[in-house]
Symmetry: C2
Subunit: 329 residues, 2 copies
């Protein structure tokens, strides 16, 4: 007894394979009695259509690739889940690839994926644009948090939320700020830094730029240490993970947050709500980001060579416990 195929079923039911196939794909073309008989037989035999065979003829893999630079970064699990969920809704599965922080790996992975997926979603802060373009040639692709003119992209724009964060701190009396910058190659880092700078200039407040720091907990500790070398009473961390590092470093040195300094993070990952004090941060609309990415990708797949789409979703500011009034000197 080998795996059941449409032929096993066809034979069993005394119909042709074509009919069996239709029962699954275009059931309305098959008469009710036959349809039911076939379905019953299929169920009884435990029939599962071979996706390889189907893919071969339809040219669709019903699968999308998802490339993340580092799944251990708490930013991604939420995204992965959102993407997976909406992919499932579209009848596709998700193939996850962790590029392990290596640009070379990213590009290599895309090449690897090509033949197995209908398209890819790439969350790739690192790779060079040229490498990305090349890798995506002829393959429907949407970039996450990294716009590129000729490839579709879905990005989270935190500019206005960061303005809100600044205003929030300003209202609390802070006048001297520090910007703890993230990896220089990261689009998000550049973008966030720019937003903070613009805000500070607009407000006419002092802004010390520190960094760049690696987007890790350790990087955050270094940033925290650096922060103490300045007079800033409030700091914008690149993301929540670094903010946590900052918090830890400050705590380690007996500096109170938000008593002595205020810290705001970015992304609102799980960590933000498990750390003490809870992080004031900017929440990224993960669910939306994922859903949108899948939708855009689907469109690219259905109309290959269509114009690239660019979607920008705003984050929003959320005040928690890592920010407070300026310490009275």
């Amino acid at each position: 007894m080998s795996k059941p195929t449409i032929y096993s079923i066809a034979q069993r039911c005394g119909v042709s394979a074509a009919t069996v196939s239709r029962v699954f794909n275009r059931p309305e073309l098959v008469s009710a009695p036959v349809r039911e008989q076939v379905m019953a037989a299929a169920h009884e035999l435990g029939y599962q259509p071979s996706s390889a065979a189907r893919g071969l003829v339809t040219g669709r893999a019903e699968m999308i690739g998802l490339i993340v630079p580092d799944i251990t970064n708490p930013f991604f699990p939420l995204l992965v889940r959102a993407i997976q969920r909406s992919a499932e809704r579209m009848g596709s599965s998700v193939m996850l690839v962790d590029a392990e922080e290596s640009a070379a790996a990213e590009v290599r992975q895309v090449a690897q994926l090509r033949s197995r997926v209908d398209g890819v979603i790439v969350a790739s802060p690192r790779s060079s644009s040229a490498a990305l373009r090349e890798a995506a040639r002829g393959l429907p692709c949407v970039l996450l948090n990294r716009p590129l003119r000729d490839l579709s992209s879905v990005v989270c724009d935190n500019t206005s939320a960061l303005f809100d964060a600044g205003d929030h701190l300003h209202k609390h009396g802070h006048r001297s700020f520090a910007l703890l910058t993230g990896p220089s190659a990261s689009w998000a880092a550049a973008r966030r830094a720019q937003a903070v700078r613009r805000w500070a200039r607009g407000r006419g407040v002092e802004l010390a730029e520190l960094g760049p720091f690696r987007a890790t907990f350790k990087g955050g500790r270094q940033a925290g240490a650096a922060l103490l070398g300045t007079a800033a009473t409030a700091a914008f961390a690149f993301d929540d993970l670094t903010a946590c590092g900052v918090l830890a470093e400050l705590a380690g040195r007996g500096v109170s947050v938000p008593g002595d300094r205020s810290v705001v993070g970015c992304d609102d990952v799980l960590l933000a709500r498990t750390v003490t004090p809870n992080l004031t941060t900017v929440t990224a609309p993960m669910e939306d980001l994922g859903t949108t990415a899948v939708q855009v990708l689907t469109r690219q797949i259905e109309a290959p060579g269509g114009a690239p789409e660019h979607v920008r979703l705003p984050g929003s500011f959320v005040a928690r416990d890592s920010t407070g009034p300026r310490p009275t000197p």
Copy 2:
């Protein structure tokens, strides 16, 4: 210009498709000049073999499924990465599925996956054994952290590490302990609880059992609150996430850790080292767990119907800052 196939290449090089195929699969069977010519042409045309076609004839998808109950649980990203890494080494890709904490989804997903993968790795604390068995029927499968007699499994056994943890606390003078139990349906939770109980009995110390609590940060907070209702000076949390909740709850109530109470976690996820104080915990050998799971699965795939394998890997105790000497009353 449609997608290049072995035929395009064959034609271009004046050889047969079979030869082209061999260049990629059994290059030693092809003469050097032809081989190089074909490779050059393939590269030039940007040829990528169709995995659907290959899969159809070889019967292999070169892909394994990975089902996790909740990718946002910090336990999993490390595992996912380890699995992906070693799958890649075996020439397979990983299809990730987040069952979203639903046993029904888990089983449904396995069914869905069947036709697209060569086998699955299931990290499924929830589903009933019967459901799992049924879902895995005829599909190579290895269970993670959940042994079942007739299915292969790879589990992390923390028993001895928990003994070490207990001894560590005992040495620090603690005599009254609390066990904050995890979800009752989880094998790991049961196992850990059992280990702690055995240890406590062996030592003849007092052990208050609290719970079960959900394996979330919130669950941890509740556990923390409950802990304060007891005289225990040291607590075993179900995992790091709940331990963090405990820490947060205690901190919120002005209870110092490790000054007033000691807390040990389990798993050693990223969180353990980002929280203040750093968690004393039991590290799970994630890398090994993942690698082993893939190896076992590979064996199952190559010899379907072979006897199930059961691997048990020990965790190890690591002392950090959430444990200390018993407070002097």
